[in-house]
């Protein structure tokens, strides 16, 4: 039931909405990005970190020419991290394949002790096997965050050997020119990404 129900609902909404949007409605904001503008922009990290299979992955060269959606989190995070991954998974599935193929999602763990390559891979595969997982050493993590101007993750003990890790709540969108002028805070949805990704793909060096 839910499958066809959703289709009928969508069809119904699609049929009725155009009737509403005619006339003198608010001007369209179709070309405005929904992401939050950051000043100064972020520069894409130059670091080479181990990927989930233990192979060195240079963030700059491996993502060359791609829209790179970059996130620092951890897998024992029940709240913001999986939500970003779920929304990105849904967005990439909803976009045309030739648009989605120009996007790389990179997840760097801020908890390398628990997030081994294997743990991180299995967690990312739950969302999308194409999502890149990177496992830095503490030293590499510290240097990368320093270059980015971001806070070093702090642990909070929550008992029974468990701890939470503080981390940036937003996804950083590096355009093709390796510069990120926009970030995507928690609460951003797949629909927001579907709206912004094609626009973000236009950012970067002008031909």
């Amino acid at each position: 039931v839910p499958g066809w129900a959703a289709i009928v609902l969508l069809a119904l909404v699609a049929l009725t909405l155009p009737a509403c949007s005619g006339g003198e409605d608010k001007p369209s904001k179709a070309n405005e990005l929904l992401g939050a503008k950051v000043e100064p922009p972020y520069d894409k990290p130059y670091e080479t970190l181990n990927d989930t299979s233990g192979k060195p992955y240079n963030i700059r060269t491996e993502t060359e020419g791609k829209l790179t959606l970059f996130y620092i989190g951890y897998t024992h995070c029940p709240d913001i991290c999986p939500l970003h991954m779920v929304e990105l998974k849904r967005a990439l599935a909803a976009l045309p394949a030739d648009t989605a193929s120009r996007v790389t999602v990179v997840f760097v763990t801020a908890d390398p002790e628990r997030d081994t390559g294997e743990v991180l891979r299995s967690w990312l595969d739950h969302f999308n096997p194409a999502f890149v997982g990177l496992v830095p050493t503490r030293q590499e993590l510290s240097e990368m965050l320093k270059h980015l101007g971001m806070n070093y993750p702090e642990r909070t003990d929550i008992g029974n050997g468990n701890y939470t890790v503080s981390h940036a709540a937003y996804v950083i969108a590096f355009a093709k020119d390796n510069v990120a002028k926009y970030v995507y805070p928690s609460g951003i949805t797949a629909d927001d990404w579907v709206h912004d990704i094609p626009l973000l793909l236009k950012e970067g060096p002008k031909k």
Binding site: V1, P2, A5, A6, V8, L9, L12, V13, T16, L17, A19, C20, D25, K26, T75, H76, C77, P78, D79, I80, P82, L83, V86, V119, S122, W123, D125, H126, M150, N151, E154, T156, I158, G159, N160, N162, T164, S166, H167, A168, A169, Y170, V183, P185, S186, G187, D191
Partner: protein
């Protein structure tokens, strides 16, 4: 059994739901420039308004638990209150003995998650547990939670007592 019952309820509700949405959409066309009522996610909005459990003036709506591949997850819901102020003191789950109430504090773009002793439910108001704010944290899960599963949650309130809800696991 539970799933069957849900499916039947869904099938019964569905025609009504279509009508309700059609009415909403038409209403939003008819109004002057107020498009705020236009439903973007009609199905979930309607489903979420059916309480999963009630006690006193409290009603739990929109409860869900996130699917996970590891040993942590989070439960979200809204507590609607038509009575005096109350407080959520504790949550108990059938999938783990380690359940905590957590808040996420975001300062300057950095999110930090920490346990809290309880969560206030304002009089004639609501307490919302949602991503980026409060959640019930499920720790040390014996096995990962998969979509389609159901988690039994007992929510213990200071005044209203315990409300038991069945929370669907969703992606």
């Amino acid at each position: 059994m539970m799933v069957k019952a849900y499916a039947r309820v869904a099938a019964l509700l569905f025609p009504a739901l279509l009508l309700a949405i059609a009415a909403l959409v038409v209403a939003s066309c008819g109004g002057d420039d107020d498009n705020s009522a236009a439903p973007t996610r009609p199905a979930s909005t309607v489903a979420a308004s059916t309480p999963a459990g009630t006690a006193g003036g409290l009603a739990i709506i929109g409860v869900s638990v996130r699917a996970t591949t590891n040993d942590v997850s989070a439960a979200y819901f809204t507590v609607k209150n038509t009575g005096p102020a109350d407080r959520l003191l504790k949550a108990v789950a059938d999938v783990t003995a380690n359940v905590q109430l957590h808040e996420v504090v975001t300062t300057g773009g950095t999110a930090k998650m920490q346990p809290v002793a309880g969560l206030d439910v304002p009089a004639n108001g609501q307490l919302e547990l949602k991503p980026g704010g409060y959640h019930v944290m499920l720790l040390d899960l014996k096995s990962p939670l998969k979509q389609g599963q159901t988690v039994k949650l007992e929510l213990r309130f200071e005044k209203a007592g315990t409300i038991t809800v069945m929370a669907p696991v969703t992606d």
